[in-house]
């Protein structure tokens, strides 16, 4: 997620040169249709197509890391529910193994989410927002949000360093266990204070600039290049074929 200042630039292959708008459309279409389909074959087609898509966009090593990460999240969730099963006996008989179809749906989403997330850049996102012609009421806070996420992540890094020095007696992994209230306070309060100060400063800056929800940010037209058109056409074919098979199964 380069938009969040993490160093993911080397994770992408740069092979498919498609616009962020195309990635957004692919992600949205994949998540809607994967939810809609209930048969194995159409889902398998979508899974295959999205697997090709992620392989062209992201290096294999990073795909493996992402899948391991999601597996870890799923495992913690399952373990948590399993542990609760000891307390609430009604949950003991529930199946905890991953079913095939939900797993396929999740994988289709991951395959489209990761290329979008790893290729997002702040400046591109702001320009994408302009192209989408959202109402000013939504566009202005959204642009502010995207603009300030890196600032907050930077604040958090600085805060972490300040805490390590000030509380070196208890800092490290034991801090939140030894003094949970102090730990949550020293991390949270300065961030909230910074947030409120930034809010005031930025509100002042926007007022002075004359920026408002009515400001025309210079919306540009959506332009799709040849690669975008090919990728979107292939995606449409895959979805249409899956749709037909899904309906044939449903009526057969």
């Amino acid at each position: 997620m380069p938009a969040l200042s993490f160093k993911f630039s080397e994770s992408t292959t740069g092979f498919l040169k498609i616009t962020p708008e195309s990635r957004l459309i692919l992600t949205l279409v994949a998540s809607i249709f994967s939810l809609f389909f209930g048969q194995i074959v159409p889902l398998a087609i979508l899974l295959l197509v999205t697997a090709v898509y992620i392989s062209l966009e992201i290096r294999f090593r990073y795909i493996a890391i992402v899948y391991l990460f999601f597996a870890f999240i799923a495992l913690t969730a399952v373990t948590f529910v399993w542990l609760l099963g000891f307390v609430f006996t009604v949950m003991k008989d529930q199946p905890l193994s991953m079913a095939v179809i939900p797993f396929m749906r999740l994988s289709i989403s991951i395959n489209t989410i990761i290329p979008l997330a790893f290729n997002s850049k702040l400046s591109e996102l702001i320009s994408t927002l302009n192209k989408l012609r959202l109402p000013g009421l939504i566009k202005l806070p959204l642009i502010i949000t995207i603009r300030f996420i890196p600032t907050f992540i930077n604040d958090l890094k600085q805060l972490r360093q300040a805490v390590r020095i000030r509380f070196r007696g208890v800092s490290g992994y034991g801090f939140w266990v030894l003094r949970p209230f102090l730990w949550s306070r020293v991390f949270f309060m300065p961030l909230v204070v910074r947030l409120i100060r930034s809010t005031d400063e930025l509100a002042l800056a926007t007022e002075l600039k004359g920026l408002s929800a009515e400001t025309d940010f210079g919306a540009q037209r959506l332009i799709f290049g040849p690669t975008d058109k090919i990728v979107l056409a292939l995606a449409s074919i895959a979805v249409s074929v899956s749709f037909i098979i899904e309906n044939l199964h449903a009526h057969g």
Partner: protein, 186 residues
């Protein structure tokens, strides 16, 4: 039609500073919950509680700073769009969340509004978060309908994260008091 366009462009009701505040609080909420998720593996109980508690406490502070009807709805829309743009999270539950949150905000308005009764912020956050979870459970059902047993996991996780919301509400009340003492919010 012209008045709807004027409203969507924020004319008259929301000041630019209100929209900036909503944007920054969305940024902070997303950044902190994302970092907690990355640090704690997303679904472990401690991370779940912390993420929800942070989310609720920040929402309380936001409502204390901008006590207007529509703030929560706008916050949810911006947050969902952001999650979609940055992380590809689908916004399929958004329409339900908007309807639910708007209903909660209208109820709060009917009870006198946040300007007159700041305490109603607790009700607003608690009820709108309940709606969000219900909408997400509904959506999750669509995703695991062939194996409904898996829904138990979603329900348990949602319930646990709602517990975090309740803890966050208490934290939010304390925080608002302290921020007033520090002169940071009026």
């Amino acid at each position: 039609m012209a008045s709807i366009r004027a409203f969507l462009n924020g004319r008259g009701f929301f000041e630019t500073s209100d929209l900036v505040t909503i944007g920054l609080f969305s940024a902070m909420t997303k950044a902190s919950t994302l970092i907690l998720a990355l640090a704690g593996g997303g679904m472990n109980p401690v991370t779940l509680l912390l993420r929800s508690a942070v989310h609720a406490a920040l929402l309380m502070v936001l409502l204390a700073k901008v006590p207007k009807t529509g703030v929560l709805t706008l916050f949810n829309i911006v947050g969902s769009l952001l999650a979609f743009f940055l992380m590809g999270q689908a916004m399929l539950a958004l329409p339900t969340i908007i309807v639910g949150t708007l209903a909660v905000e209208l109820l709060v308005r009917a009870l006198g509004g946040l300007e007159k009764h700041p305490g109603l912020g607790i009700l607003a956050v608690a009820a709108s978060e309940l709606f969000s979870r219900a909408a997400n459970i509904g959506l999750a059902y669509l995703g695991v309908r062939e194996q409904p047993g898996l829904l138990v996991m979603v329900v348990v996780i949602s319930a646990f994260s709602y517990l975090g919301i309740l803890i966050g509400l208490a934290g939010g009340i304390r925080m608002i008091k302290e921020l007033r003492h520090a002169g940071l919010i009026v």
